[in-house]
Symmetry: C2
Subunit: 199 residues, 2 copies
């Protein structure tokens, strides 16, 4: 985390300012929320002048996109791993990740909303990986259209729960059911998404 490869050239001045800015931005988002994020604050956090980011990002929105991309990559890797090991439900992994990084997840979601994506279908984008992970959790025997609907349904359920799990309304129910994790499992189970491994 601290330094990548010591063999790699540390770069010209900073080393790898682009990556440093993305990570500073992510830190700020996770700490303060996305509305508190400003390019100047990111530059400050990275210990660099306010103009420096403009050598790496066209504008603020491009930096936000890079932060979101990093999140999607991370999430899709996790889901992939979970789906491959068959040891837990990808849907649960999705919700857990979103719950662990709520502000980042919001940034990811905002970035995803307007992306066309899936143009060539068989992509190696993070979104395609997430989709495949949900596919792995579905019943592959269904007709293509139903299968696609199952994926979308699972994704929607995971998104909805991920965002609503923070609701104070559900505090008591969450406690009665046995804590956050049991709550997630229970609700996803109800929605047909959690193929629980072994309770």
């Amino acid at each position: 985390m601290s330094d990548s490869e010591p063999s790699a050239p540390r770069g010209y001045h900073h080393g790898d300012l682009r990556r440093a800015l993305v990570e500073a931005g992510r830190r700020l988002v996770e700490a303060e929320g996305s509305t508190a994020l400003s390019l100047r604050a990111v530059a400050r956090e990275a210990g660099v002048s306010p103009a420096a980011p403009y050598h790496h990002f066209k504008d603020k929105s491009e930096l936000l996109e890079a932060i979101a991309d990093q999140g999607w990559d991370e999430l899709s890797d996790i889901m992939d791993a979970v789906a491959a090991q068959h040891e837990s439900s990808p849907g649960v992994a999705y919700v857990r990740y979103a719950r662990a990084h709520p502000a980042l997840y919001r940034v990811m979601y905002d970035a995803a909303r307007d992306r066309l994506s899936i143009p060539g279908e068989a992509e190696d984008s993070a979104h395609a990986k997430v989709r495949r992970a949900f596919l792995a959790a579905a019943d592959a025997a269904e007709a293509p259209l139903d299968l696609e609907l199952a994926i979308v349904a699972a994704w929607c359920a995971a998104h909805g729960l991920a965002e609503m799990a923070a609701f104070k309304h559900f505090h008591r129910l969450r406690a009665e059911v046995g804590g956050e994790d049991a709550f997630l499992q229970a609700v996803l189970g109800r929605l047909g998404v959690a193929r629980d491994p072994r309770p």
Copy 2:
């Protein structure tokens, strides 16, 4: 909409600036999104000086809350009506409303997240009404805990679909399934939320 009761006193100066500000704010949110909302812009939209809103709201966040409240009241009324008439699923009504007012729904959601709410349980708050509407759609024969989980699950599913239905990813699927409404029904059906009236 234009004027309430002509018999009611038009008030001191403006008439009913508080309501006018909430409506101006809502108009701005729906047109530009919540991030574009500023107190000054709302005052401008209402044709009033920048300081005027301070006679009706402590600060900007209080105005936003009022806008959110108006939305929740409207939505809960709609769901109530739908549940009473048994002619359509409250879950579908929820998603339709959110889809029709996406930016407003976002404001509503943000306001709801941190509300404790449901303290005395049997309330007449908008949230309690929404909850009751989801309850009406569930199988009332279940054990209390399961019933509560069913409500939460339905709410989460509706929220997730409401936000994700805008995804460009799903454009093609939406078309293949027969348009937005069929898409909503299909996904909610999959999640066990849409008790469709008559297909």
